[in-house]
């Protein structure tokens, strides 16, 4: 005759949970925090530099957490199902390969040797993903893959690539803004990344802050977060991304043109020092969200029509 073990009381359950949490902190939490301290410090230093072209990346970990949170229910359901099907905690279905964690660790140490923030961020993502894979197994990991892939958007572009790209975009934006302003009757001249408006020899824009290098990818990253959280199908996801990119581009050009007209009329060149990329980004996100809702609302209405 078997005697059933009595279930632990609530206070005992709390004690067990605290003990497990403490153990997890010592075995996993503390070393992870120590290894990631320097890379996170580098990242925050980079992202908070005034005029850093991709400082929107500071919000990427938050987006990644939102995506992970939206998939947590699935991950828990899979973990419980696996526990029922494979009671052995060492089974390959419940315990993944450690290679990714080792690779992440090696990349992280190499990034410290080379003092390289992009490599450190890649190492950080690999270490997080490798830990989750090892701890919870490949099936649970599969549910969380989008969150880890999204986190890769926080990897800073190498400095020289970013300079080349932002310079190219500044030039392009200035050319188009110059043409738009010429069409409105203003005299403009676009030389390289500098736009001259009116007869003045003083440059109107260097095109760096509103080059679109900040606003367009940032708005698209927000749209991508929304797509991954709501689990849209590929077609809807592409539509949303294209819409966000186009709206961001249009809002960016409009801001440049309006600012140029205001500065030209008022003659107040101190307005050139304004950094409008965050404001422009906010407006672009708002408009693209409203447009998407309006569009999907119209589609739903059509779908429901007889």
């Amino acid at each position: 005759m078997s005697v059933a073990t009595p279930a632990p009381r609530t206070s005992e359950r709390y004690q067990i949970a605290w003990r497990r949490l403490g153990l997890a902190m010592v075995t996993d939490g503390i070393p992870f925090a120590v290894a990631c301290f320097e890379p996170i410090r580098w990242m925050f230093w980079l992202w908070t530099q005034p005029g850093y072209p991709t400082s929107w990346q500071v919000a990427v970990p938050l987006g990644s957490l939102l995506i992970a949170h939206s998939r947590m229910g699935d991950a828990q359901r899979i973990a419980l199902e696996l526990e029922r099907l494979f009671p052995d905690p060492g089974s390959p279905q419940r315990r993944g390969n450690i290679a990714l964690l080792i690779l992440g660790g090696l990349v992280l140490v190499s990034a410290h040797v080379a003092v390289s923030p992009p490599a450190a961020m890649v190492g950080l993502v690999c270490t997080c993903a490798g830990w989750a894979l090892r701890r919870f197994g490949p099936f649970v990991m599969r549910a969380l893959v989008p969150a880890f892939l999204f986190l890769l958007l926080a990897v800073p572009f190498p400095h020289h690539w970013m300079n080349a790209l932002s310079g190219l975009m500044s030039m392009l934006v200035n050319k188009i803004a110059g043409q738009v302003l010429t069409a409105t009757g203003l005299t403009t001249q676009s030389i390289g990344a500098v736009l001259y408006v009116g007869a003045s020899a003083t440059p109107m824009f260097t095109g760096q802050s509103l080059s679109g290098f900040f606003v367009i990818p940032a708005t698209m990253a927000v749209a991508l977060t929304r797509v991954l959280v709501s689990r849209s199908d590929i077609r809807a996801a592409l539509q949303r991304l294209v819409l966000a990119g186009s709206v961001a581009g249009v809002v960016n050009f409009t801001t440049i043109c309006l600012l140029a007209v205001v500065i030209h009329r008022s003659g107040d060149r101190s307005l050139l020092a304004l950094r409008l990329e965050w404001v422009t980004f906010g407006i672009a996100v708002m408009i693209s969200e409203l447009l998407y809702r309006f569009r999907s609302g119209a589609n739903t209405h059509l779908a429901g029509a007889p």
Partner: protein, 216 residues
């Protein structure tokens, strides 16, 4: 049992990573804290201290710097920059060379009487064709070790990793020394210019070794 081993393995990898990262960070903390002394005279060359331009300093991550211009009685001049970088960009190319010149030739070679190789380079001016800049560069440690300079260390991840490993294993207090001079667009006296650069480079290195001997 398997569960405990698996847990220990996971924790072991994480702790090894943490220890590796912390020890590398602590070791590289000494970067940018040492600059070599420069001689006031090398043979009949007389030195004048000149500050490095603000633009170059800021592009190289504001390193500690000591710059000298050596002039001789014939009116020839050789410029020496010693930089103690706190970031890896500081071990890269000087800003005017990066922007105004294109590379003609580059090689690493031993300098007579020196344990280690230096990097010899020649650049042609983009604005004034025919104007060639000759440079001898090296990385120097307080213990007198010398190893070749890599100009693309700021942009090339492999060169960066190699430089970081060298600093870790040799001495993180290493500094970069640039000895440069120019030939005229007509190309006259190129051989003499190269000999001048060699003479000043050897003078700077032998002065550093004499200073080291004296401090012992």
């Amino acid at each position: 049992m398997i569960r405990i081993v698996s847990r220990c393995l996971l924790s072991g990898v994480l702790w090894s990573t943490a220890v590796g990262c912390v020890s590398v960070s602590l070791r590289l903390r000494g970067m940018g804290s040492w600059l070599p002394e420069m001689p006031a005279r090398v043979g009949d060359w007389v030195a004048t201290e000149t500050p490095l331009s603000l633009e170059t300093r800021s592009r190289l991550g504001n390193p500690r710097a000591r710059s000298m211009v050596y002039r001789n009685a014939h009116g020839e001049s050789v410029v020496v920059h010693a930089l103690a970088p706190k970031v890896f960009q500081g071990f890269g190319e000087l800003a005017p060379i990066e922007m105004d010149y294109k590379i003609l030739a580059r090689q690493s070679r031993p300098l007579s009487g020196l344990h280690g190789a230096v990097s010899a380079s020649a650049y042609e001016s983009i604005r004034t064709p025919g104007l060639v800049l000759h440079a001898l560069r090296w990385i120097q440690t307080p213990s007198g070790r010398v190893f070749p300079f890599e100009p693309d260390v700021g942009s090339n991840p492999v060169a960066r990793l190699r430089r970081g490993f060298e600093l870790l294993t040799r001495d993180p207090q290493a500094c970069a020394v640039h000895v440069t001079t120019m030939t005229s667009p007509d190309g006259a006296g190129a051989g003499q210019v190269r000999r001048n650069v060699h003479e000043i480079a050897l003078g700077v290195l032998s002065y550093a070794s004499r200073q080291r001997e004296a401090s012992r």
